[in-house]
Amino acid sequence: MPNPLELPQGVLDLLLLKTLALEPLHGWAISQRIQTRTTGDVQVQQGSLYPALHRLERKGWLKTEWAISENNRRAKYYSLTPAGRKQLRAEEAEWLRLALAVSQVLGEV
């Protein structure tokens, strides 16, 4: 398995928002989910996951709630706020445009 990818600035936020768009999750599940979805290509650094979540909460894009987790323990669940949903749509569109643009350039070469 090749080394996990380094995430460019801002992409982690997008991945977190996208992951939470489906259902509320706690921190550990989020990192698991991203890892499985990317088949291990992206491994969320422990040092950046929680600060990122807290930052998104502070911006009002995520809200949190303590609930009982699948292993019957209290865990902090993150979910999208309406503002977060809007932000996700915007960032998604932007990312796709960027990705398209970048791959166009790369394709030309």
């Binding site: 600060p51 323990r73 865990a75």
Partner: protein, 872 residues
Amino acid sequence: MFEDLRFRLRALFHSESVEQDLDEELRYHYERQVEHLQNQGHMEAEARRLARLEFGTLDQRKEECRDVNGISWYETLYREFRQSARSLLRRPGFSLGVVFMLALGIGGNLALFSVFNGLFLKPLPIDRPEEIVDINTAAPRWNLERTSVNYFDFHNWRSHNRSFAAMACYDETEANVAFTGEPLRLRGLQVTHDMPQVLRIQPALGRFFSPDEDKPNANRVALISHRIWREQYGSNPSVLGQGIRLDGQGFQIVGVLPSDLRLPIEADFWTPLGEAPVQRQNWYLDTLGRLKPEMTSAKATEDLLRIHKSVPDEMSQLTFPFTVGIRERTFGEMKSYSLIVLAGVGIVLLIACVNVAGLMLVRAQSRRHEMAIRAALGASRWQLSREWLAEAIWLAAAGAAAGILLGLGGLRLIVSLIPDTALPAWVSFEADWRFALLSLVLAATSALFFGAFPALRASRAALRNELAESATRSSASNGQRRSLNGLVIAEVALASVLLVSAVFLGKALWDLSQVQPGFRAENTLVYTVSLPRSQYAKPEQWVNFYSALIEKTRTLPGVRSAAVSSITPLSGHQGNFYLVEGAAPLPKGQSDPVVLRITASPGYLAAAGLTLAEGRDFEPNEGSAPENTTVLVNESFARLYWNKTSPLGKRISQRSDKPKWMNIVGVVKDWKHYGLDRPMRPAVILPQRAAPAPQMSVIVNTASDPLTLARASRELVRQLDSQLPVFRLTTMEERLSRSLWIRRTYSWILGLFAGLALILAVAGLYGVVSYTVALREREIGIRLALGAAPVAIARQVVWNGALLVAAGLALGAVASYFAARSLASLLTGIDPANFWIYAAVGALLLLVALAANLWPARRAARLDPVSIMRSE
């Protein structure tokens, strides 16, 4: 932004729970990972090791999260404020002193402002109060600022004006009413039918008067007040249509007045005025108008003048209608007093602020070293100033809080000084948004004022390299000392202005209280009885009733003399015009003066303590013979028509086409009928039998405390007629003291604040001088070590203080003179050129200031040079 703020505030105020959350969240993650690894087949110990490897330490993770929460400007601010609060609490003496001074200044201002607010600023308790004006007429020829309004004029104005949405006039009245129990004397109003439109009110029950009911000889209908409805009729709606006897006359109740009605006076009943616009003799009505929107009082006056002057008769040329706001009419006189007191209290606040600024400067000086270090380490000017401003804001907030309490307490005290019935019912002194606003403004400006000094200095310190300077513990910089000295000089000057003003006012009040009233104040009881025309239709009945009452009163133990009179001293005015037989016609353009007309029983002079200048008092039964009526005049009257010759035997008559001449048999010395500070008008006293009146005041001269006779007097009246209430029962002493209450109140208040100003100024001086001594310790130590005499050191300290005081006094003397001049323009009895007052105040200030200097001087003289030098 809002989310952010919420988040941070939570972090700020619930930092513990935030920490707990974080801990639990991260711990869960770790445990879950361990579980996960175990599920993949690792043994627990191995799983934990792997998880930790991957996750790192809990503390490290926490720290990263905390960084996200970061420090924002409001957290800095919060810390700044917490820091300065701590630093203030560490110096409770300083902080309490400052808060106390500010509380005095702010509290005093708030209390006095509340009074001013209640009198002059609060809107009247009525719909669109700004449209309401009082209408009156002035008659400059007779020196009458207000003649009251004649119904003919009113009718004319009402019919033809273009300025008023509605206009109504009223007459205050009183009536005896017997519900169950003791008969009551109720205040009432006779109003024209349009009064509700002027006041924009609806009846609580029933209806107001119709225009038809507001005509002479109409059906007698009345509205009663909400209070009477509640207290006497148990709020029963069946009151409508019931009868009520006012002064024995039956009226039908058609409505109940609204419960919150306080205008134009708090009346217990309304009856229609029922006047017809036919005569132009009586000027007795008060008039209110509601201006049309967009109409001003001045334009309305023009409009009224236009209508008024178009009536072609003499009266219309002599009188001038004018409009004025209700507050202006009621309290116009008080405005100058109130402004004087407000200015005085403002000065106290200023002194308090100056004092606090001085204290802050002293503190800034003692922290100069620290500030310099911080500046050297890169703290910005703003950062350094901010600390001082935070402190100032704390102090100002605490001072304002204490000041609000003090102000509310002071307000209650002042209100308790005001006699019950001295102010109209619509005046309320409760704190409102203006009070709140002023509290805020005072707190903010004082914080800025005394916070700015040290803040500026601190930031300047950042610019200069004071580090090197302060390392040598030099004396206070010149700039610092100059600003401190300036503050002291300002303080002394301000305090002297206030003291001089207070002494002037106090002296004027004292002089006034020494004025001989010309009537007897002590041991004199007065009360009034009014005979209703329904039972007492004939004038003989009036005379008989009052004669019987006087006779019975004279038999009471402890009564020296008793009499009745239509108007007793200090109880108002009833005027008339008089002709003098054989007098040269007055020069054209000069009208007869208005003469105070009194009707009195024989013995009135003795009972009231008036003195005869010449001639004699009435004899018993005098005035029964209509062809030979006698009259007394006062000195003013005699001087007006006969100058120096005696008026005895001369004849006068009420102005009329068919004069009924009366012989002057005596001249009474002028008495202060209208108040100790008011001039006396010419007056005549007619014998009761010649000019009977249904309402008379009984005046009783007693051997001891007059109020002990109050019950016996009421009982006498009850024996004569159990339906008659006794009202306005008081002593002449009480009446005299009440007539001076405004002057007394503001003199006391200003005196109190002048005393405070003195104390504050002296405290400020003491602080500054002590501080200067503390700063110069090193220099003084050297001089002592070099052999200077301690006495010389002490003398120099005192001398320095004295110089400051002298400078302050010189400045204050000039300012005081101008203050006294403006006082003299507002009040009588003040001579701004009274040198002694300035000298006395100056001497007092100097003396007290020197005393304040002695302690620091003594300290300077006793400094131990050895220990000072060693501490270097």
